[in-house]
Point group: C2
């Protein structure tokens, strides 16, 4: 299924969750990732995320789409970077 | 239509876009808002956002849903704040 992931983590944990998200998804904005995951990949991704966040402080929102559906997205302001342009 | 908005703006413009988003939508995470907008409200919201961002630097992603559809969202980590708990 297609997912959109937005994280809000303490600065010291940003590099770790960034690396984790990059292993599974495409970077579309500073703390926003998207991509298609199988149910098994989503479970592994969730376990990886939960191992690198402080679940009493950090928040990760995961928007899921039905099989075959993809998001409609508008981008306002700065033209979207290509994935390799984003740190 | 239902929209999910995620902004990435320079710190000095955060208060203004935060206020603008709050006028139209519900706060669900630090820089994430959701809500239902009519096409006219979406146009006004877009104009308001564009008036308070630097379109060469700031980025705003707007995920739109078909009429009647709402997002499926999982929240990992910190339990989601009620809207009034978020600054």
């Amino acid at each position: 299924m297609y997912v959109v992931v937005v994280y809000d983590t303490a600065a010291e944990r940003n590099p770790k969750i960034l690396r984790t998200c990059r292993q599974y998804l495409h970077h579309v904005q500073r703390s926003v990732f998207e991509g298609s995951l199988s149910p098994a990949q989503l479970r592994r991704f969730k376990a990886a995320v939960e191992s690198c966040i402080d679940s009493g402080y950090d928040s990760v929102l995961v928007y899921t789409y039905p099989p075959g559906a993809t998001p409609e997205r508008q981008s306002w302001g700065r033209p979207q970077d290509s994935p390799t342009d984003i740190l």
